[in-house]
Amino acid sequence: MSASINRTFGIAKAVASKDLRVEMRSRVMTNQILPFAAIVMVLFAFALDNDGVLQRVAPGLVWMATLFTSLVVVQRSFAVEAADSAIDALRVAGVAPQGVYLGKVAALVVQLVAFEAVLAFLALILYRVNVDAHGAVLLVTTCLLGSLGIAALAAVYGGLSIAGRGRETLLPLLLLPAVAPVLIGATRATESAFGSDGARVVEGWPWVGLLAVFGAVFLFGGTLGFGPLTDE
């Protein structure tokens, strides 16, 4: 049992590092998604300056952008598997699907957290948000758990979407409603961290608890469900 668990984690590690390496080569995140998100934030700043709205919208914007990014990244991450039918090779290799799933989630979380870090930083500068030390701790926890929740769900649906041609189109339809609670929780926690609308930092922690629950549930469900969902 423990040997097989070790093996699963070994595969997860191989998959995650492969995914991250592909991303580093293609630089879609750094050269494509990030600049886009940055410009969206700039344009928002341009459109909504001079009236406190900006600080209020910032947390929602950051998480909406993260959600969108997770969609793009997970789609790419499975498109890479599908491009030259590498996924067939993986399926046939007798590789534990749990390993593949956990690897995909890990790579996704790393990318999303990096993305959020940049976005939060931009929000701090562009929208003149102030975060104190406690807020920063809350912010980091929120980013980690929120990304985990989104990634855990996105990877399941991503796997589903490559199981057949044309299914990628299902991804957002399926993903968006399911991920909405995570989005709301993360936004509220971030609002507290940013102090938007006079929210206080302590008010954020219950939301973080909710995020942790969602993250755990999605990750557990995903680990169980990924194999059956994708093995056709």
């Binding site: 030259d84 067939d88 290799a93 007798g94």
Partner: protein
């Protein structure tokens, strides 16, 4: 006979969309055979191989691979076969070397085995350090075959393994497949190259219109 059948497909119907790409096909292959599947374009060769790899659902009939039922014990089937389709199954952004060592990690092969497979398929250091997307068609196929060699499956399913390879490469593949059989594996290839496969294979299976019309003698 029943026990030694590595592939035992009976009255198999496989629907792709609504098209029966296999229409009541019957195939039996014993351990240690090196079999070539022939047939016109669209006959169902690829479909047969993918079915045996556990990559397609069976609509009717039955199929047992290595003794495992293909529907009920799909993951056991998959764990024991190695499959190379028309596509190479490589990550195009990674170098040939990175692809090989990824598969080495996944199947638990050590570094020497990986290097040996690369050398065997004629991949030198420059090629190993080149992203697969930039390799020539034959170099990609060589990389994919090196991955297969790393896999050490007990049932090898190869769809036109010679495609795109130069004369030397074809001989190398043949040697690789013969070695695999010598080491106890069973090999099934689909091919359009009648002469080459006649000299390589121990038996020929002819597919036409989704059915097996000739199986040779076993």
């Amino acid at each position: 006979m029943g026990e030694t059948s590595v592939v035992d497909v009976r009255d198999a119907v496989v629907l792709l969309g609504s098209f029966p790409a296999l229409a009541e096909a019957n195939v039996r292959i014993n351990a240690g055979e090196l079999v070539v599947v022939h047939g016109p374009n669209g006959a169902g060769k690829t479909t047969l191989l993918r079915l045996c790899a556990g990559l397609l659902p069976l609509s009717r009939g039955s199929a047992r691979i290595m003794g495992f039922d293909i529907e009920a014990e799909r993951s056991l089937v998959r764990a024991s076969v190695g499959f190379l389709g028309h596509a190479n199954g490589l990550y195009l952004d990674l170098t040939a070397g990175e692809n090989l060592s990824f598969w080495g990690h996944v199947v638990g092969a050590n570094r020497e085995e990986v290097t040996a497979a690369a050398v065997r398929m004629g991949l030198n250091d420059r090629l190993l350090a080149t992203p697969v997307a930039r390799l020539s068609a034959g170099q990609k196929r060589r990389t994919a075959l090196a991955v297969m060699a790393v896999r050490r499956a007990s049932l090898w399913l190869l769809d036109e393994p010679h495609a795109g390879l130069d004369a030397a490469g074809r001989d190398e593949i043949d040697a690789l497949l013969r070695d695999a059989v010598a080491a106890g594996a069973t090999v099934v290839i689909a091919s359009h190259e009648l002469e080459r496969s006649a000299s390589l294979a121990s038996r020929r299976i002819e597919v036409v219109g989704g059915r097996i019309i000739e199986q040779g003698e076993r």
